[in-house]
């Protein structure tokens, strides 16, 4: 249960966003705002378009219309590789580790935009603290790691960017419960240190526990939004996402 430490200053504003992979529109008129310092969650069923929304923010969607602005930058017209330099780290769904690099090289690559700046070593040490498993495996090729270990690499690599906004697309996918727990604790710490966090999480109860506010998506549109703790009590949510 985090109290939103939002400052009220807009961080990310999305207006009437539509996006497609070449066929039908996968996002239809999505609007969303996020404030500096917020911990925001997006939940929704499969194929609701959550990942697509995140990809659009990062400049990975081929066809888009509408508006995305991040601290005054027009993201829709920013090439994907410049987005991280603005301070956005995106941990993609499905791990996407660099399979032929060692764990440590993966992490170092995460710090690419930081150039020669110092502190890269410290960041790595912090990530090894969070995921001791990775420390054991630091010289192993990431492609030979177990699924969950790869997920740790992906999250750690994203954190290496030292971002203003950390975007997490299903970070707990395939992780052991104990690791999920620790990782979410760490997300809190990161958030508390001033980083805004945008989280997509299928583990809805966890997401609503972590986030201050949440948007609920279905078939390409925002259904509704609200304070996370309130949504957790909402019947519509309980039925669809908190079952089992």
């Amino acid at each position: 249960m985090t109290t939103p430490s939002a400052t009220g200053a807009p961080l990310l504003t999305i207006e009437n966003l539509c996006a497609s992979y070449g066929g039908a529109w996968v996002l239809k008129d999505v609007s969303l705002t996020m404030q500096v310092g917020e911990f925001l969650a997006i939940i929704g069923a499969n194929t609701a378009g959550k990942s697509t929304l995140l990809k659009a923010i990062s400049g990975l969607m081929p066809q888009t219309s509408g508006n995305i602005s991040f601290l005054g930058h027009d993201l829709l017209n920013t090439p994907a590789h410049r987005v991280p330099t603005l301070g956005i780290a995106h941990v993609p769904e499905g791990r996407h580790v660099f399979t032929e690099m060692t764990v440590e090289e993966n992490l170092r690559t995460g710090a690419f935009t930081r150039g020669k700046s110092s502190g890269v070593g410290d960041s790595i040490a912090r990530i090894f603290d969070l995921f001791p498993r990775l420390k054991e495996r630091r010289t192993q090729l990431a492609g030979t790691l177990s699924g969950g270990e790869q997920q740790m690499v992906a999250v750690g690599r994203g954190m290496m960017l030292d971002p203003k906004l950390l975007i997490l697309d299903e970070p707990s996918l395939g992780l052991a419960p104990i690791v999920v727990e620790e990782m979410h604790d760490r997300f809190h710490e990161i958030h508390n240190s001033g980083v805004s966090v945008l989280l997509v999480e299928q583990n809805v109860s966890l997401a609503l526990e972590s986030a201050g506010r949440a948007y609920v998506m279905s078939s390409g549109s925002i259904e509704f939004e609200g304070i996370a703790t309130e949504l957790a009590q909402d019947d519509r949510i309980r039925r669809a996402y908190l079952g089992i």
């Binding site: 499969n46 495996r137 969950g148 270990e149 996918l173 052991a176 583990n203 079952g243």
Partner: protein, 252 residues
């Protein structure tokens, strides 16, 4: 008491210096639904890979219906009735969903029969509407379900499911659980790897726990949930706490 359908005896698999599966032994009775849990990197997927012949065992025995199957090629093992789904999803991405499933059906059928079977299975797992879509265009959860359908079409006796419920909504998980149960009733034996504890607890009648390649526990979900080693290595303390509050509901 029926004879065990699968016996695993002192199974070990190494990668260089790393022992991914370490001296593991267990048996499966026909019609069981067994959960295989354990921390990331514990060796669950590797165990599946050795069972299905992707990797040969470094040591130990596997008896499939009494006959040794360790070291056989995957297709031989599939023909003997054991197959698996892939954690990272390994569909034939350029082919349609239907064709993916048909290919599985060819193991025991002629092409026209395989087609018929595949359609029936797609119907059953609720994928009929996307039968003609290209597998590469599906979302991750959809793909995982196609994996299941394709494996089912090989008409297995033992099906090893590797995290097919990851990224599913609770409602969808319920569907999968219902499906697995009904398939079990038709005689298929399941081993399920899943990190979603609620789902595991609900679906499985027995749990195996791996840690650092070793089997550290084998018992009913209730027992496992109270096993200190498992809590420490895998479930975490808060899970144990939560369980105490919610125990009756979860086990329902």
């Amino acid at each position: 008491m029926t004879a065990p359908i699968l016996q695993v005896q002192n199974l070990t698999r190494r990668f260089g210096g790393l022992v991914a599966v370490n001296d593991v032994s267990f048996e499966l009775d026909p019609g069981e639904i067994v959960g295989l849990i354990g921390p990331n990197g514990a060796g669950k997927t590797t165990l599946f890979n050795v069972l299905t012949g992707i990797y040969p065992p470094s040591a130990g025995q596997i008896l499939l219906r009494g006959a040794p199957s360790g070291g056989l090629k995957p297709h031989k093992i599939a023909a003997r009735g054991m197959t698996k789904t892939f954690q990272n999803v390994a569909l034939f991405m350029e082919s349609s969903v239907l064709d993916n499933v048909v290919t599985g059906g060819l193991l025991k059928n002629t092409l026209p029969e395989a087609r018929k079977k595949a359609r029936a299975i797609l119907e059953r797992v609720g994928l009929a509407s996307i039968a003609d879509k290209k597998a590469g265009d599906l979302s991750f959860p959809e793909r995982a379900r196609v994996e299941v359908a394709r494996a089912l079409c090989t008409e297995p006796d033992i099906l090893l499911l590797d995290e097919v419920m990851a990224a599913l909504t609770p409602a969808e998980m319920e569907d999968v659980i219902t499906l697995v149960r009904s398939l079990r009733d038709e005689g298929i034996t399941f081993v399920v790897v899943e990190h979603h504890m609620k789902a595991v607890m609900k679906l499985c009648e027995r749990l195996l726990v791996l840690n650092f390649g070793e089997l550290i526990a084998d018992g009913t979900p209730t027992d496992i949930a109270q096993n200190d080693r498992v809590i420490e290595a895998y479930l975490g303390s808060s899970f144990a706490k939560k369980r105490q509050h919610q125990a009756p509901e979860v086990l329902a």
